[in-house]
């Protein structure tokens, strides 16, 4: 069984889990969003590595090249990058709003204020 061909996916999973760790272990909401973005960028790498073909060229069609990488994951990830920025902007706007309402962007301060109500 040729497990060496899977190292890409494993490194990507390692990177994903680092982003996931930032999301669940840090208290500041902006840092959580950054962790979410790290996770997201790792998922992009996972998709692009699935579309790679051994010995293939970038999918710009020209004569003299026989093998191209798969363009479909590239298209999906192009869409995902732009959507990711839009959702990040929305999340950051929420953080700014929470900071104004609670006076803090730390998860624990927000919980404490909610409990004392």
């Amino acid at each position: 069984m040729d497990l060496l061909g899977l190292y890409n996916y494993w490194i990507v999973i390692l990177l994903m889990m680092m982003g996931f760790y930032v999301v669940i272990a840090s208290g500041h909401l902006v840092k959580k969003l950054i962790g979410l973005n790290l996770f997201q960028a790792s998922v992009f790498i996972l998709y692009i590595s699935m579309g790679t073909v051994e010995g293939g060229a970038a999918p710009i069609l020209r004569s003299g090249v026989g093998v191209f990488s798969n363009p479909l994951p590239h298209v999906l990830i192009l869409t995902a990058i732009v959507v990711g920025v839009a959702t990040t902007a929305l999340g950051l706007a929420l953080v700014v709003r929470i900071k104004e309402a609670y006076g803090s962007a730390e998860e624990e301060d927000i919980h404490r204020q909610d409990d004392s109500l």
Partner: protein, 179 residues
């Protein structure tokens, strides 16, 4: 050769992510995220995804970083040290990672030209898009024509997010101006 470049880039990505975990100054964390996105763009070039690479370099590195810097300018740049121990998050992350690794075991190997993903619509795109669409860049052809509705949906999402940001930040300012 290209494998060596990819492995080095992956190593740098991992170091950047670890630095982002360990730092508590949010300005430095945002810079680490920016470097991470730029390295990811380099990985995309090494994996033949040039369109994705320059979109990531422009949007992921540029716009995301500016948005995050603007936010930490408003909410403050220092993170408090977390009071709880990192044991539980670490356990959750390790478990999730192991499940995901188990899930990759029956994936096609990296670069395998016979993988199912390369057998479905991709050959059609690669062979017929110069005739049907008339431009050499297959990614643009698929994005703007074969999957044009996807792009329309993407615009809907961006529009909705823009309305959301305006609703959260814009209207409140006007009220303060009136009072």
């Amino acid at each position: 050769m290209i494998e060596v470049v990819t492995v080095i880039l992956f190593g740098m990505l991992a170091v950047t992510a670890i630095a982002a975990i360990r730092l508590h100054d949010l300005f430095a964390v945002v810079m680490m995220f920016s470097i991470y996105s730029l390295l990811a763009a380099a990985v995309f070039v090494a994996m033949d995804a040039v369109d994705v690479a320059f979109t990531e370099a422009a949007v992921g590195v540029g716009i995301s970083t500016v948005l995050m810097l603007a936010t930490i300018g408003l909410v403050g740049r220092h993170e408090k040290r977390p009071a709880h121990r990192p044991g539980l998050p670490l356990a959750v992350v390790t478990l999730t990672g192991m499940v995901l690794v188990y899930g990759t075991l029956d994936m096609p190997r990296f670069g395998d030209p016979l993988a199912p993903i390369h057998q479905h619509v991709a050959p059609h795109y690669l062979q017929d898009s110069p005739v049907e669409i008339g431009i050499p860049n297959a990614v643009t052809g698929v994005l703007a024509s074969y999957r044009g509705y996807d792009t329309l949906g993407e615009l809907t999402v961006i529009f909705t997010a823009g309305i959301g940001v305006l609703a959260l930040l814009g209207i409140r300012r006007r009220k303060r101006g009136e009072s």
